[in-house]
Every structure is written in C-alpha cells, then in structure tokens.
Amino acid sequence: MSDNVLKASIAAQSVAERAIPVMILAMLGVFLLYGVGFAQPDVLHNAAHDGRHSFAFPCH
C-alpha cells in the first residue's frame, strides 16, 4: 500500500473509535499532573518543590 493509503487509516477511524485511547491518556496525564503539581501532602510538596515553582504551579 502507498504511504498515503496507510496513513489514512488513523484519519479514517471515527472519533468514537479514538475516544478510548484519548480518555486513557487524558486520565493518565491529569492523574500525574495532579500528583506532581497539585497534591498537598507535605512529602509530595517538598519532593517536587523546585519543579512546582519552575513550572509555575500554584504552590504554598
């Protein structure tokens, strides 16, 4: 098959077919982002302190 036909396979999927991987990735991203940037337990806060400031998450 030509490249174009091959590459069309992703585009040909409906939004519904793409929804599950998108939701899994989005949940993974939000979960990790919450843990590293938002969670308030002192231990997490102290460990990620400089990273939180540098990435400009609301801190303290």
């Binding site: 793409r18 991203g29 231990v43 102290n46 400031h53 540098s54 609301p58």
Partner: protein, 247 residues
C-alpha cells in the same frame, strides 16, 4: 494502539523532563534558592532566624527559616539540599514531562491527523499557551515566599484557565464553523474575565526585582520545555504511531 501511544508519551515526556531540568538548573533554580533567603519573613511559626551577611554590598539582614516544623513537632520529610534535592527535582520534572506528554499525544490522536517534528513543535507552542502563559496571566509564576491567596482557589482557577484555553484554542483554530469559533473565543477570554484569586495584601518579603526575574525566567523556560516536548512528541508520534499503525 494504546501501547504505541504510550511509547511516544514516555519517550518524549522523559526526554523533555530531563532536558528541562538542565535548563531550570541555570535559569529558575538559582532564583528559587536566592528567594528562599528572604522567605519566612519573620513569622513566628516558621522559626525565623536573623542572620547577618556581608556578601551583599552594604550588608543586609536576611531572614531564613529552618526546616518546616509541624504543630505536633514532627518535621515533614524533604530532600536534603544539594544532590538529593536536585535528584527529586529531576524526578518531578520527568513526571511533569510524562503528564504533559500524555495530554499532548492525546490531543494529537483526538485530532487524527499526521504529526511530525514541525507540526509537533506548533502543538507544543499551543501547549505553552494553555498550561503556562494563560494561567500565568492571572497567577504569575511565584517565587517561594511570595504573597498569594489561599491555595485551593488558585489551583481551581489555574485548572479553569488551562481547560478554557485548551478548549478555546481547539474550537477557534481547528473547527471551521463560525458558532464554534465564537464559543472558542468566549472560552479563551472567560477565565480572565472571571479573574484569578489575588492575595488580600501585597508586600511579601522577596524583593520585586527577584520575583519579576523569576516570572520571566519561568515563562521562558516553559516555552523551551513545550517546544522541546512538542518537537520530540511529534517525531515519536510519527515514528511509533503513524508509521507503526500502518505497517
């Protein structure tokens, strides 16, 4: 499919997280450490100590505080300054990288078009606007010790600004229907019309010059991070998702 997507996420997130740690080491981290000399401001609860330093011209009083002490007297764990602290910063940056990579690759896949290094870089710049510039307009990047309102409200507004900007940019730029474009514009502006929670009083112990420098350094480093992440994620997506799914 999810395995290929995760490969692109992990590769780009870890790489961008490691690379930005090097950038932070020379840009934002020195300002954080400098600001911590002023942090504490003499409050009773944080065991402020007054020290004299001749290192700064004219000599100045710096307020420093010892390890955080809980009300029950137990110290919360924190990494030791130096290598350990840098190591945990690296770890947290890698997790931040993977988190943002997951959101970015989810957007690539939801869009359903081809992505390469160049288009990935443009997506990355959009990510910078969504997760750094737009939240930063209401809540400027803070140095330790900056005055700010209660944390919960700021976090909520930050998430509101990021979500509104993401949805707004998508509807404005990627949907070719006027009503959706108008809605996108409204979503883009709405968080700023509502406004971020601001501190009741200003005048923290950290000099404004240092705070201003930190805000610009943080945003600059943010752009570098997002450009790197977008570029690497675009290349990884092309390699592991677009090509692999057709092989």
């Amino acid at each position: 499919m999810i395995g290929r997507l995760l490969t692109a996420v992990l590769l780009s997130g870890v790489l961008a997280g490691v690379l930005i740690s090097v950038v932070h080491e020379f840009t934002t981290t020195p300002i954080i450490l400098h600001a911590e000399l002023y942090e504490g401001g003499g409050g009773e609860a944080d065991h402020a100590t007054l020290i004299w330093t001749d290192e700064v011209a004219g000599g100045q009083f710096y307020l420093v505080h010892g390890d955080e002490v809980h009300e029950d007297g137990e110290e919360a764990w924190g990494p030791q300054d130096g290598f350990e602290r840098s190591l945990f910063t690296l770890l947290s940056n890698v997790i931040t990288g993977v988190a943002y990579a997951a959101l970015l690759v989810a957007a690539f896949y939801l869009r359903g078009r081809e992505v390469d290094g160049r288009t990935g870089l443009m997506w990355g710049v959009a990510g910078f606007v969504v997760f750094a510039l737009a939240p930063g307009m209401g809540l400027p990047p803070e140095v330790p010790g900056a005055m700010a309102s209660e944390i919960g409200g700021r976090q909520t507004w930050w998430a509101f600004a990021a979500a509104g900007t993401a949805a707004g940019l998508w509807l404005l730029l990627l949907v070719k229907k006027l009503p959706f474009n108008v809605l996108g514009f409204v979503l883009l502006v709405l968080p700023h019309v509502v406004g971020a929670p601001q501190p009741a009083e200003l005048g923290g112990p950290v000099p404004p010059e240092l705070s201003a420098h930190f805000a610009s350094a943080s945003l600059g480093a943010g752009l570098v991070f997002w450009a790197l992440l977008g570029w690497i994620a675009g290349l990884s997506y092309e390699r592991f998702v677009t090509r692999a799914s057709t092989a």
